[in-house]
Each structure stands twice: as structure tokens, then as C-alpha cells.
Amino acid sequence: MNALQMLYPIQRHGIRAFSSINRLSAGLGAEPVGLIAGVIVVIYVLAAVLAPLVAPHNPGATDLAVRLAPPSRAHWFGTDALGRDVLSRTVFGARVSILVGVLTVGIAAVVGTVLGMLGAYFRGGLDMIGARLVELLQAFPYLIFAVAMMAFLGPGFWNLIWALALKGWIEFYRLARGETLSQASEEYVEAARAMGYPSSWILLSEILPNIMNTVAVVAMLRLGFFMVLEASLSFLGVGIPPSIPAWGSMINDGRHVLFIAWWVSTIPGLALLVLVLAINLLGERVREILDPRWKTA
């Protein structure tokens, strides 16, 4: 630390993070929609974590005596073609959706943000490679890309996450790159540079806290998208292996018995819709609170 840095220590980001958490909790609590959406998401997460305790039956236990049984007191949402309890499988299915969604968004956000910040700050070769990669990946419609990746990699939990994240990072890359470019021209960054702070310090302690909110909001808004994408792939039979209960493959199971047992497809689909809707509502509220530009009318 040199004399200038000692005289003018920069500590703004600590206050900033604190204030956005404050604003978030106050803002979400103040409005019923945000609150309800938040509660729904918490319930899903709890159900996923506590699935073995919450689910009334073993999700894999087959009982051919009660195959395709309609909803009853023993099986609230009926059973599927192998006599497995639809409610229990739906509860366990939340694990796959939430895990795949969170891990994919997490990997995509970290990789994309780091590459975007580095590209924007240092420019040069890295920035060039990043731009070409983005152009190439953007040439593929998302679902087609993911289906093709899964076709060649084969079904599997981690294969699925890689297939989704391999294209998912570009959105965060473009966001972080653009935000870093505009932040890097701000006076506070110039001041830090003039005071001799190293680039790594400027990127991590100066720029990152200032673009964190935007990245977090986009991550939240993408979460639901990835969950639907995972379900789509599992529905097509190229996602999660059939041995693990997942909403997409459950919906596909029910497709063949739709006319005689509506509940097999309908229940997991409804579970997915409610979760994605709650996440999207929450994401929009968070965006409005953290980023006043998005205030709707």
C-alpha cells in the first residue's frame, strides 16, 4: 500500500452490498407478489432438501397392483404406469430441477462474468477469442445445441449441466463485458488506477461489486429458463437418466397414458410451472428494486 492508498482507503463497496441487501428485504416484504413468490420458492427448496422426509412413499417403489390409480387418500396425486406414487416422485423431481438450474446458472455466471470482465479490462487477444466464441455459439438455437450436445455426450446429470452451461455463459459474458467497459471509464476506477492499485484489485474490489447486482438479477431471470430447458431435454429422453425422478421424464411417461390417467403428466408439469413462475416473478421484483431503470409504468 502506498501513501496515497493509505490516505484515501476505498471502502465504499462494503456499504453498497449492505444497502442492496437491506433494500431487497424491505422491497420484497413490502409487496404481496414478491413475498408470495419468495415463500413458494422457499417451500420448493425445503421440499427438495427434505424430500426423503416429506415424500409419503419411496419414489422408486413400484407396485403393479395399483398402477395408474387415480388420486386417492393413499396416493394424493395418483400413481403412474408402474404404480409409483406421483406425489413422491414430484417431490424428488424438485431436486433435479433445482440442482441443475442452480449449478448451470452458477457455472455460467461465474465463467461468463470472469471472462467478460477480463476481456473488457485487458482487451487484446482474450477479448477477440471471447467475441468469436460468442458468435459461434450464438449461431445455434439453444434447444438444438443442448439436444445435439446430449446426443453426442449421452444422458447424465453432469453431461446435462455442461451441455447447458457451455452456451449459457455467453449471456453473462456479454453483460459483464459491457458493464465493465462502462465502469472502467468511470472516475473512481481512474482514481484507483492513478493511485497505483493493481488491476486484480481494481477488478475484484472496485468493478465487481458495482456489476454484481446486474449479474445477480440476470442469473435469477435465467434460472427458470434453464429449469424449463432441463425438463425439455428430459422429456425428449436425452437429459436426466430414467432412473432418477425428473419432472421432464415424468411428463413424458404420462404422455402415453394421457387419456386414461391425466395426473401422471399434469402434476409434474404444474409443479414445474409454479416454480418457474415464482422464480420469474421474484426475479422481476428483484430487478425493479435493485435497478430503478426497470420500474414498470
Binding site: 458468435e135 434447444l143 439436444v147 446426443a151 453426442f152 449421452g154 391425466w262 410451472l273
Partner: protein, 336 residues
Amino acid sequence: MQLVRILRRVLFAIPVALGVAVLAFFSLHLLPGDPVQIMLGDTNTSVAQIQAMQRQLHLDQPLHVQLALFFGQLARGNLGASIVQQRPVSAMIAETLPATIELTAATLVVAIVIAVPLGLVSAIRPGSWIDRTVLSTSLLGASMPAFWFGLLLILFLAVDARALPTSGRIDSTIGLQPVTGFMVVDSLLAQNWGALLSVLRHLIMPALTLGVVFAAVLVRTIRSSMLDAMRRQYITTARAKGVSETVVIVKHALRNALIPAVTVAGLQVGELLGGNMIVETVFAWPGVGRLVVNSIFAKDYVVVQAAVMLYAITYVAANLVVDVAYAALDPQMELG
């Protein structure tokens, strides 16, 4: 200067298309293990069979020679041959492509018919109950897994009323001579009204499935570009001149608001093509998407490789057309 910009944009698309082809080439090598072994399965295959297939796929050559041969074939429009059906992939895609294009066009029509009036009504009175209803419904639609929505449609429109067909493009009892492959066009050409009715009835549910979901996205774009247009000075001027409100909205605001909306729609055509892969599966629609899914399960990777590459190139081309059209419409638009 405009022409230079457009040319530059076109030139930028070429390396992307080449990159897509290279990626497609390497996709076969992503397979865990020997592609030939995987494609032939572990049923009793002779060494001669394996070697014949390696020769057919040029897998007996060094990698750079394979790549050169691959591009040489592409240049002649040869996409390789299906392992399972033993016929050119290009023929298989040519058979299925019209079905996919017809479905995508119908989806787009559904989306526009739903989204434009709703976006318009919503933007005229922002904050009203209509606006709030449209906005929350659109969030619901955007959160909807399309394949599940398709199943709900079947459940409500096909099971109870027995009104709409749930699979295929036309009743199997109707013989329609394929001319263009687009059945709507073919039945019009043949002036076969029974066939046309059957084709349209088969189109309704698949087109609604993704059309409704897509409308949810589109309606927000139309609303916000309408709101933006309504704030402009030419609107104030038109009102001050005493032009009636309807004319102001339709002629002045809507026409300007449609430019960004059309751009968004155009850029989403690729995603629609992708989404229709699922719709085609749900409704047994004989398009490219279903061909890809079936080929994955048949381990017919040459077909998957070629079709995915074609999807990507179509997507690049569609984006190119949108960008160039936009630049031609709006000279202030930055390209690249």
C-alpha cells in the same frame, strides 16, 4: 456507406457458418468411444462391416484429411448418408423441412395474432387492469414449458371434444399429391378443400402450443415499443393537428412500434425452430426436429450432425436477413 455496412455484415456471417461446420464435423468425435462401434451397436458385426463403415465415414483417414473430405462433400451439397436408412441425409432433410417450415410459419402467425392486439391494448392504457392482466398473463405464458402446454391442449381440445387431431399433418384417408411439400399450398394448388380443412385442423394444436408461449414474449416487446412510440413528439404533433385518436394509435404509433417488434420476432425464429423440435415430438409432426430426435435414438449420428448444422446455418441466415432488413429500414442503426 449503407451498402458497405451491409456487405460487412454479410462477410461476418461467413466465418461463423464455417465455424458451425467445423463444430459439426468434430461432434462425431465427441462420442464416448469409437463412433462406428457405437453406431453399429454391439450386435454381431463383422470386422469387414466395421471397416466398410469406417471407410464410408472416412474415419480410416487422418483427421485433417477427414476435415478436407467433409468440406469437399459439403461444397457439393452432400451431407453424408444415413447409417440406418442407407440413403442421403440431404434427401431425408428435404422431405421433412417443408413440414417444419409450415409449422414455424403457422406458429408465428398465431403468436402475432395474439400478441399485436394485446400489446396494443395494454400500451394504450398503461397501469390499467387490462394492462396488468396482460402483463401477468404474459409472465405466466413465458414461464410455461411448451411441451407440457401441448399436452394440456390435447387433454382439453382432443380428448373431451374429440374435435382436433393430435398427430400427423393430414388425415391418412386423404390422398394429396405433394408438389411443394407445404401441405397448405399443395391443397390450395389442387383446389382440394377437404384436404385443406384437414391440414388446417392438424396445424391448430401444434401451432397454438408454441405460438401462445412465443406470444407471451412478443407481447411485452410490442407493449414497450408502443409505449416508447406514444411518447414521441410526432404523436403530440398529430394529436395537436386534431387527428383522431384511433388514427394516431394505428397509423402513427403502431407502424413505428412494429419495427422493433418485427426485429425481435425475426431474431427469435431460430429459437422457434428449436422449440418446434419438442412440439414435433409431442404431435408426431413429421419435421426435421422429429427426424433429429428419432435419429438420436437410432444412433444415426450422421443425420443428427447434418440436421443440427443446417439448423444453425438457417439461424445465422435468418439473423442476417433481419439485421440487413433493419439496416435498410433504419439508416441510423449500427451494424456488427
